[in-house]
């Protein structure tokens, strides 16, 4: 393997990690507020088709990205209303959101499976992009990649250095005390869930508008579930979410290059790698039950009603 191939693989790894960064960081905020939304896969895939449809109809790729975010938020709103206002079981509602989203996206996308789209192009920054090695490694991506990387410091600042982040985390730890202190538990959880939906929607739109600019049924292929696993893997810390996303990006890319190295393994087995890696990583993290218990937001997955507590 020569240096060019290595750079190519690294660049592909970064791009493959981007949809996971968006949706996993979004879910991280949701879970920090004490809500477990298992509907990430559903929100992603509806974001993917909504973004694609709007971009194909309007010719505006960025309008598509916005549409993806909006569609993700609408999906999240259904979840928020059922779990936060009506206090339904979050696990079941999240599953329903995914089943609904997969059906809805297939339905919406029926007419779009043979539509070609140009896709969001990589930026060409004068001088910087032309640098040898570094140019390709650092300055050859489409704007959404930089947006994902920008999201990370913003989120760290919000969660750990802002008042809003403190309130959000307090609500995730103890909604009852936060409520007693006068914080609007339900309203803040709504905002967190909607933010998570928008991020999952953008993650989905990234797939259909930049990563592989086309629509095919079920194209998220479990990435929403991997994003959920990433949050556990990261023990609810944003830095490790980022690391994990690139790790999984690498595993996804590895399957394309193993065969190139002359290893004769059927493609199906290579395609299993991301899912098997997810399981392996979950085992490694979860085997110490204490880490999970200490780091998971204490009220994760529990409904809150101010007159019941």
């Amino acid at each position: 393997m020569n240096a060019d191939t290595v750079i190519l693989i690294l660049v592909a790894t970064i791009t493959a990690g981007v949809p996971l960064i968006f949706s996993a960081l979004g879910e991280l905020v949701v879970e920090k507020s004490g809500v477990l939304n298992l509907g990430v896969e559903g929100m992603m895939i509806v974001g993917a088709i909504s973004g694609f449809m709007v971009a194909a109809e309007s010719g505006q790729l960025w309008l598509g990205v916005l549409a993806g975010a909006g569609a993700g938020m609408l999906m999240a709103l259904i979840f928020a209303f059922i779990t936060l206002t009506l206090m339904a079981n979050q696990v079941a509602t999240g599953l329903a959101l995914t089943i609904f989203g997969i059906g809805l996206s297939a339905y919406m996308g029926q007419a779009y499976s043979s539509v070609a789209l140009e896709g969001i192009k990589s930026l060409h920054i004068p001088l910087l992009s032309d640098l040898p090695v570094l140019g390709q490694l650092l300055f050859s991506y489409d704007p959404l990649v930089y947006l994902a990387l920008l999201l990370f410091p913003l989120l760290v600042w919000f969660l750990y250095h802002s008042r809003g982040g403190l309130v959000l985390r307090a609500i995730g730890e103890s909604p009852t005390s936060a409520h007693a202190l006068g914080y609007p538990v339900i309203r803040i959880r709504y905002l967190a869930v909607l933010f998570g939906g928008a991020m999952a929607g953008i993650g989905g739109a990234y797939l259909s508008l930049a990563y592989t600019p086309l629509w095919s049924e079920g194209m998220t292929a479990g990435r929403g579930w991997i994003a959920l696993a990433l949050v556990v893997f990261a023990t609810w810390r944003p830095g490790r979410v980022l690391l994990g996303a690139f790790l999984f990006g690498g595993v996804t890319i590895a399957q394309f290059h193993v065969q190139g190295l002359g290893v004769d393994i059927p493609s199906q087995f290579l395609s299993m790698l991301p899912y098997l890696a997810t399981i392996a990583v979950l085992v490694l993290i979860s085997r110490n039950a204490k880490t999970i218990r200490l780091n998971a937001p204490a009220s994760l997955g529990q409904a809150f009603h101010r007159e019941v507590h």
Partner: protein
């Protein structure tokens, strides 16, 4: 807000049974709105969706063929769900069950024997259990989330099937299609109703129904599992075995899904092919909830969900709507059920006239 939710002193038993009916009514109402928005006459669309598919004997047979795996898998899952064991990978367990049973059918390809079908049944059940044992083992030994593991294994199982039907098990006379050989008669379930495709697999579902009913009604283990689901700390205190709950919950679901997989390939499909199921493993989760995790409720819910599948196919043929419409209806049904469930524990009270 016009209404406010007030906790009921006692959960309403009436709403436990009324809320699924309310959910169905709301689903139909929203369906009507969707059809109108799509420019269809709602009456025509409803006829195509809910009446047309079952207005003859053949259609009723199709309803049973689709309801049977849904009920079977949901029955298995409900055992775990009652104990808060979330096996959501039944689709993968169905696939592995079908692979194991299909392997038996292909192995005995040249054999004419009454033993082939029972062997396939056992292989199917064991295959499903094996696949469900992975999340059970990882959960009990390493505290790994069974939700995520069982789900990841769905993708692994489907890729395994894809490899088999593209590679070693591909029909040599199949013109390159990704499918195995057609099973011979010994490996095909007999038809039960003349003029339909209804096969003997429905008996297996009915047996499972009785077994789960008896298990839940009279066994101590089921009681302990339910306590573990409702109040984990109380169960701990009483010394109930939490690991056993996880194992039983997952293995029951796996066995049921594996048998459902065997039924599919030995029934309507008659070979291993891609894809095997239109998402029965996921739809069964909805069936289990809409059926209130109760065997009789599950039976009724499975018929309703099967009708949604058939309606989707009929809407595709008659109204040129995509078959995926049924997924939308299935999701809506679960949403409305979860939403109306709030009325079990809360009362809707108008906010006017009272001090809010």
């Amino acid at each position: 807000m016009l209404f406010k939710l007030q906790p009921r002193p006692q959960p309403s038993q009436r709403m436990v049974w009324l809320s699924p009916l309310l959910a169905i009514a709301l689903m139909l109402l929203v369906g009507m709105v969707i059809f109108t928005l799509l420019g269809q006459s709602p009456i025509k669309a409803f006829h195509a969706f809910f009446i047309e598919p079952i207005n003859d004997m053949y259609g009723l047979g199709e309803l049973l063929i689709k309801a049977s795996p849904l009920a079977l898998i949901a029955l298995g899952l409900s055992v775990g769900f009652r104990a808060n064991v979330w096996n959501i990978g039944a689709e993968g367990q169905l696939t592995i069950g079908a692979i194991a049973a299909g392997g038996v059918a292909l192995w005995f390809y040249e054999t004419e024997s009454l033993w082939v079908l029972p062997l396939m049944l056992i292989a199917g059940a064991l295959g499903g259990m094996l696949w469900a044992a992975i999340p059970a083992l990882l959960r009990t030994r390493f505290h790994t989330s069974e939700i995520l593991v069982s789900l990841m294994l769905v993708y692994v199982a489907q890729l395994l099937l894809s490899w088999l039907v593209h590679g070693p098990w591909r029909d040599p006379d199949g013109f390159g299609f990704p499918q195995s050989r057609q099973f011979t008669e010994s490996a095909i379930l007999p038809i039960m109703l003349e003029g339909t495709r209804t096969h003997a697999g429905i008996w297996l579902t009915l047996i499972a129904l009785v077994m789960v009913f008896v298990f839940m009604r009279w066994s101590v283990v089921a009681f302990q599992m339910r306590v573990a689901g409702l109040a984990p700390r109380a169960a701990d205190y009483a010394g109930f075995n939490a690991k056993r709950t996880i194992w039983i919950g997952l293995l029951t679901g796996g066995a049921a899904a594996g048998i459902a997989g065997m039924n599919e390939i030995a029934g309507p499909i008659g070979q291993l092919s891609m894809p095997l199921s239109p998402g029965y493993g996921f739809a069964a989760i909805i069936v289990a909830f809409v059926g209130r995790l109760h065997p009789i409720g599950i039976l009724l819910a499975s018929l309703l969900m099967a009708l949604l599948y058939l309606g989707g196919e009929s809407a595709q043929m008659q109204l040129a709507l995509p078959a995926a419409v049924s997924g939308v209806f299935q999701g809506l049904l679960l949403f409305f059920l979860l939403a109306t469930d709030v009325l079990i524990h809360f009362r809707l009270t108008p906010t006017w006239g009272s001090k809010a």
